[in-house]
Structure formats: structure tokens, C-alpha cells
Amino acid sequence: MSVQADKAPRRSLGSFIASQIELVGGWSAALGALLIIVICLAALLAPWVAPFDPVATDFRARLKPPSWAHWMGTDQAGRDIMSRLIWGARASLKVSFGAAVIGTLLGVSLGLAAARFRGGIVDNLIMRTVDAIASIPLLIWAIAVIGTIGPVPIVLGPITLQNEDKLLMLIGVLYLPMMTRVTYTVASAEKMADYVKARVLQGVSQGRIMLGDVLPNCLSPIIVQVTFLIAVGLIVEAAVSFIGLGVQPPRPSWGTMLADARPYILGPEWWLSFFPGLVISLTVIGFNLLGDGLREAADPRRMAHGA
């Protein structure tokens, strides 16, 4: 350690920001990250940030255009749109993040397992099953399954599964193939690397090598894939809620708000459909930009461009 430990240099705020921007892969990615952070914070702090109660109806104030009192106007039941959007972020983000988590946990585990036993029966079995799941059109099955089960809460002992929880799990399972494929491809390639051979020579078990050495090196593409999955999940949730099979009223979600706006599409109440869609778009743009930036930053080819 440095002799001058007590005089550690202080980095300026500017250089710190610059290094963070470079980390995510450039200005547009940083912008995306910013969008995401703002929206996630708003969702988390909903009780303190939202000016109105999202479910309280007030029929005197129905269908009011944007004004100083209601920045984004009110809906057909007099509820403040902005508050509903902020609260709705919770539901929408919960579904997309939750699905991504499930898909990632399952997918990465399966991918690592398949790579670990590469070439054998386990590998074949896993990848074939995953291929079969990949053959299922996500949206249609989500709609069909939830439609068939019925959009009602399921009570399993002490846990009540709301409809959006069902949706979350379903999407998560349908995400499986993508995560498994990515993990499998990267892990298989990493397996050939010299550092893995070195570990084998040290007598470390295959399982530990997979988890301890290979996995950390796979994280880059996995993280990139996760951001894109979240982006897709947001739109899927909005679509499913839009046709009434997602988040159930009166809980707000971005998709249900668009559904509420449908009867008024040809009327003068433009704010009903505009703001929810705008927020969805901005959030998804944020994730896409971030994912793009991360992918560029992690891409070894990028270094070759300087040559």
C-alpha cells in the first residue's frame, strides 16, 4: 500500500462521471441508465412521490385535460393519471423484472449444466427441451394460458398469487430458452480456455470450476441479454394487460391504463392514451439503450476498431 495512504487523491466529480459513462458504453447508454433509474426510483418511492391516490375516484374531476393541478390530466373515473402511472410502474416493473429474474436463474443454471455435461445425454436433453420451449410463441401462449386458467387470484396456503404473478412466472418460463442458449454458448466457449485447464490440473471439481471460474466470465453477455429481456417483458405485460388478462383493476398498470383509454381514442381526451404509452416507450428505450451500450462495451471487437 502507498506510504501516503492518508493523502489518497480525490477524483473530481467530472472524471468520476466520465468513467461511469464509459463503463456502461457511452452517452446513449448512460441516458438509458438515467431513464431507468428515474423511473425505478419513482416506482419505489410511489407513496411519497405520487401526488394523488391512484385508486381514489372523484367523478367531479373526471376527464380533465393536463393542468397545474393534474399534470397529466385525469381519467374517466377522476383518477390522476400521473399518480396512476407512478403506481402503475410498480406493477409493470414487477412483472418484467420478476420474469427476467426467473428466466435468468433457471436459464443460467440450465445453460451451465448443459455446458458442464457438454456432449452427453444431459446436454442433449436440456437443449432439446429448451428448443421446444423456444418454439412456443410467447404472447399467444401467455394469453391462452392465463385466459384458460382465468384471471383470478390463486390462493396457495398463505400466499395469494395475483394474476400478474401468474403472468410473471409464465413469461419467465418462456424466457428460459434465450438465457439458456446464451449461457450455454458462452460457457462452452469458456470451457476451452486455458484457465479452466489450469484449474482442472489443480484438482478442482468441474462443478466448482463452472460456478467459480466460468460463470463470472459469462456475466457480460448474460447481463446484456437480461436488459433486453426486461425491455421485452415491459411491452408484453402492457399488451397482456391491455386485453384484460394481465394486471387486474383497480390496480393500475401501464397496460390497463391504455385499455382504459381505448373507448376514448377518437375523442378529444388525448392525454389518456398518450402518457401511458409515452412512459412505456421511454422505459423500454432506456433498457434498450443500456443493453446496446453494455453490449458494445463488452464486445472485444470494439478494441480492434482503433487499429
Binding site: 391462452a144 399488451a239 392514451s273 412505456i280 416507450s281 423500454v284
Partner: protein, 316 residues
């Protein structure tokens, strides 16, 4: 190569059968019993039992599935709805044609825009056309198609009055009428594909343009347009795969778009079936969707092999 095609096709068939089984199990176990639908809530147990025997609903699930599958393959019979009494196949084929038209129009539109855009963006990398195509790509990927649809209806129909806000005119009635009702939905459906395909085209083109064989072609004095055509041929491989896959995905999104524009395609059949608890129809529609999707995936694989001679098998 033939072996590869056969094994892929076989796998697809197996997947279809397997997925169909899952679907079957799902609808049979989760859905309401058809007996109670048809006979009413106060049917006696004997009546229900008799009903089930009559319609073969008391047999083991696998047997029922085998029967359904056999009927499908041999008679193209997707079953008869317990709710409407009509053939599921009729309903599905009517809706399928309409949905097909929408999806194909969107796809053609997307290709026509995305491929030139992607190529130009690659050729003029870093310059304004590249920047614009990137912005459009990000927006196309992020803006939900159905929201775009809503905005288009508002803008095009309400504000400008150029196009109808929805509804459908069959091709047989009037071609222009049909196209007028299809333009907005096809556009809304195609924007996502434009984003995906143009990005792939750009990145694939960039890869190819920096390849050794392009350098050779230039070194041999081939004219610019020929070098470009060569490169395009190499670059199309991954693009075609992606395009075929996104074509399959579009069927799902067409569902939502149809709802917005009130187009009587498969989505109407599905959603009506769901709300009426008509599980024979639900199964039929989902099966057809899945089959189409799997076929698109298979086509993507095959096209990949066709365009890349190296994948065809025996080599030195």
C-alpha cells in the same frame, strides 16, 4: 444436407406433437368441463357422466389426445366446439386468412424498408443516415406497436381523416378498400420488424465488408456494384434467419393490433373463445398459431443452410 433437413423437420414435428399435448392437457384440465357448459349448471351427475361417455371425455387423456391428433392429421378436423356447435376448423380458417394477410403485408413492408436502410447505414457508417437508422431502430424496438396503432388511428383518422379508424373490408369485396383498412395496422405491426431487420442487416453488412474476400474482390478490380452484390449475398444469411423468426413473432403481436383496429382475424376467435370458455376453439387457435410459428422457425433454419454453402455437409 438432406439428413440435416430431415432431422430438423422431424424435430419440428416432434415439437408440434409435444406442444400440442401440453396444450391439450392444459385446456382439458384447467378449463371448465364441457359438460357443465352445455348441460348447464344444474345438471345431475348422471347427466354429466353420460355426456362425457358420449363424447369420449372419460377416456385417458393420452388416448383423447391421440384421437384428436389423428383426426387433425387425417381429416384436418380441429374438433367441434361444445359452445357453438360449429367446426373449429371453419372458424380458424376464416380468421387465419385475414391474419395472414395482415402479417404478410407488414412483413413485406418491413423488408422493403429495412434492407435498404440497413445496407445504407453500413455503407455510410457513422454518418447521418447511419445515425438516423439507429434512432429509428431503437424507437421501433421500444415503442409498443399497439400504442403506435392507437396514435396512428388518432392522427390519421381523426385529425387527417385519410384512413378509416378500423374495421375490415375483404379482398373479395374491394381491393382498395381492403388496402385502406390494412395500411395502418400493417404499419404498426411492421415497425418493430423494421428495427430488428435493419439492425441485423447493418451489422451483418459491416461484418462482411471488413472480410478478406471483399478485399480480394476489390484487389481484383471488380466494380463497386459487384463488390456490393457479393457482400450482400454473404450478409443476407443472418438477416434472413432473423427475418423469418420475427415473421413468426409477428403473429402474436398481430393479435393485439387486430383488437385495436377491429380486424376480424384469429385474435377475435381466440379472445371470444376465451371469454366464452370454449376450449376446443382455444386449443384449435393456439395450435394453429404454434404450428405457424414452428414452421417459420424451420424455414429460418433451412434458409440459413441454403444461403451458407459451408453448412451443407461434406467438405474437403
Amino acid at each position: 444436407m438432406l439428413r440435416m433437413i430431415l432431422s430438423r423437420a422431424l424435430f419440428s414435428v416432434a415439437t408440434v406433437v409435444g406442444v400440442g399435448l401440453v396444450l391439450f392437457l392444459l385446456t382439458r384440465s384447467m378449463g371448465d368441463s364441457p359438460a357443465s357448459i352445455v348441460l348447464g349448471a344444474d345438471a345431475t351427475l348422471e347427466e354429466i357422466a353420460a355426456f362425457e361417455v358420449r363424447h369420449g371425455l372419460d377416456r385417458p387423456i393420452l388416448v383423447q389426445y391421440g384421437d384428436w391428433l389423428a383426426r387433425l392429421v387425417l381429416n384436418t378436423d380441429l374438433g367441434t366446439s361444445f359452445v357453438t356447435g360449429r367446426q373449429a376448423g371453419d372458424e380458424v380458417s376464416r380468421g387465419l386468412l385475414v391474419t395472414m394477410e395482415l402479417v404478410v403485408l407488414a412483413f413485406v413492408f418491413a423488408l422493403a424498408v429495412a434492407i435498404p436502410f440497413g445496407v445504407l447505414a453500413a455503407l455510410h457508417r457513422g454518418r447521418w443516415i447511419d445515425q438516423i437508422s439507429r434512432i429509428i431502430a431503437v424507437m421501433g424496438l421500444s415503442i409498443p406497436g399497439f400504442w403506435l396503432g392507437l396514435l396512428l388511428i388518432r392522427f390519421m383518422s381523426l385529425e387527417l381523416g385519410w384512413l378509416p379508424p378500423g374495421g375490415f373490408v375483404a379482398l373479395s369485396e374491394s381491393i382498395t378498400g381492403n388496402l385502406r383498412t390494412m395500411i395502418l395496422p400493417a404499419f404498426a405491426l411492421g415497425v418493430y420488424q423494421i428495427a430488428v431487420i435493419s439492425r441485423m442487416m447493418r451489422s451483418s453488412m459491416l461484418d462482411v465488408l471488413s472480410a478478406d474476400h471483399v478485399r480480394t474482390a476489390r484487389a481484383m478490380g471488380l466494380p463497386g456494384y459487384k463488390v456490393l452484390l457479393y457482400a450482400l449475398r454473404n450478409a443476407l444469411g443472418p438477416v434472413v434467419s432473423v427475418a423469418a423468426l420475427s415473421f413468426g413473432y409477428t403473429f402474436g403481436w398481430a393479435l393485439i393490433i387486430e383488437q385495436i383496429f377491429s380486424i376480424p382475424g384469429l385474435s377475435r376467435s381466440l379472445l371470444t373463445a376465451i371469454s366464452q370458455r370454449d376450449f376446443v376453439l382455444v386449443q384449435a387457435v393456439v395450435f394453429v398459431f404454434t404450428l405457424t410459428f414452428i414452421l417459420c422457425n424451420l424455414a429460418a433454419d433451412l434458409l440459413n443452410v441454403a444461403l451458407n454453402p459451408r453448412l451443407r455437409g461434406a467438405s474437403a
